[in-house]
Structures are given as C-alpha cells and as structure tokens.
Symmetry: C2
Subunit: 107 residues, 2 copies
C-alpha cells in the first residue's frame, strides 16, 4: 500500500457503486460467512455479483476464504485506511484529537 492518488482512487472506486455498498452492508450485517445468498440479496445475476466481489477483493476491502463448497467473505476495513486518511486531510473538523495513530502514515 503506497497511498498514492491512484491507490486512493481505486479504493474510492470500489465504493463508487450502490451494489458494492449493498454487498458491504450485507457482509457487515452477516455474522459469519455467506456465499450465494449475496446474489439473492442484491438482485443481480450471479456473474455480476461475482464481478463486484472480485473488484472489492482486488481493492482489498474484503477477503475471500474457501470454506468447503462455499466461500467465506469477510470485511477488511483496514484496507480503507488510505482513503480515510485522505478524507481526514480534507476535513480536519473540530475534534482533531480523535487521531488514529497510523505508524506508517507519516510519509
């Protein structure tokens, strides 16, 4: 992770689609692992959902682990750090004391 503009842009692009946001919410709301249930939930074709999953995985926002016949998708919120850091740079609101220590964010 290099936190370049391209990296941040790719991260933002991963979030730049309602279907992907929905998938992330679904992943968040799901206690364990889900597979094809996502397809039914978002109401898109299986291949389309798989593509969105791939994009999210490529961006590092989620992780996929094979769990028998299914795949266990899990959120990886840490991957969003660069994007959050960028937004935080733009929006230094009242409470700057709420600074999450990111040891390798110094550069």
């Amino acid at each position: 992770m290099r936190d370049t503009d391209e990296d941040i842009a790719e991260l933002a692009r991963a979030l730049a689609h309602p279907a992907r946001l929905r998938i992330l919410r679904l992943l968040l709301a799901t206690p364990g692992c889900i597979g094809g249930d996502i397809v039914a939930a978002v109401g898109l074709a299986q291949s389309t959902v798989s593509e969105h999953l791939r994009i999210l995985k490529a961006a590092g926002v989620i992780t996929g682990e094979i769990s028998g016949p299914r795949i266990c998708y899990a959120l990886n919120p840490a991957a969003l750090a660069p994007l959050v850091a960028f937004i935080d740079t733009l929006a230094p609101p009242a409470g700057d004391a709420c600074h999450v220590p990111d040891e390798r964010d110094t550069a």
Copy 2:
C-alpha cells in the same frame, strides 16, 4: 442529503479519479482562491479540468464562487460526511469512541 447508497456512491465516485484527488489536494494547499492555475498543476486540458471541477461541484465536495474575472473554488469537507459515516460503519471495532454526534444528521 439522504445518505442513500446512491448518494454515497456518487460521493465516492467523485473521489475515484486521480485528477480529482489532485485537484482537491491543490485546493487544500491553496490559501485563497485559484482559477486556471489548476490547469497547469494537473497537466490536463483546460476543458477537462473544468469537467472535473464540475463533477466535484455536483457532488458538493467543492464550491465555486465568482470572484471578479476568476472563480474562487473552496473545499466543502462537510459534504463527505455520508461517505465517512458509511466507512465508519464498516470499521467500528478500533476507535469507536471518536464519534462526533451529529444530532441533526439523523433525519
């Protein structure tokens, strides 16, 4: 602001381009107002930059105010709140204490 998935996606899309990130950084680093200087900084055609500015303005991330012959662009970080809220929803485990309660955001 309705904080729907589409709204958040549009917000994320506004950040989903290196040129726009660069413009935002530039706007942040600029003390006052800049106009065509942005064109030279990003190295794109003037019309292209204008288009990016339009997108950012449409997303509410920046505001444009006429200041004589030029236009004064300024950041509007508050517009990013829904996106930040969404990301915060995904990544709550670490520092949830850093929550800025916005009582009028509930509606």
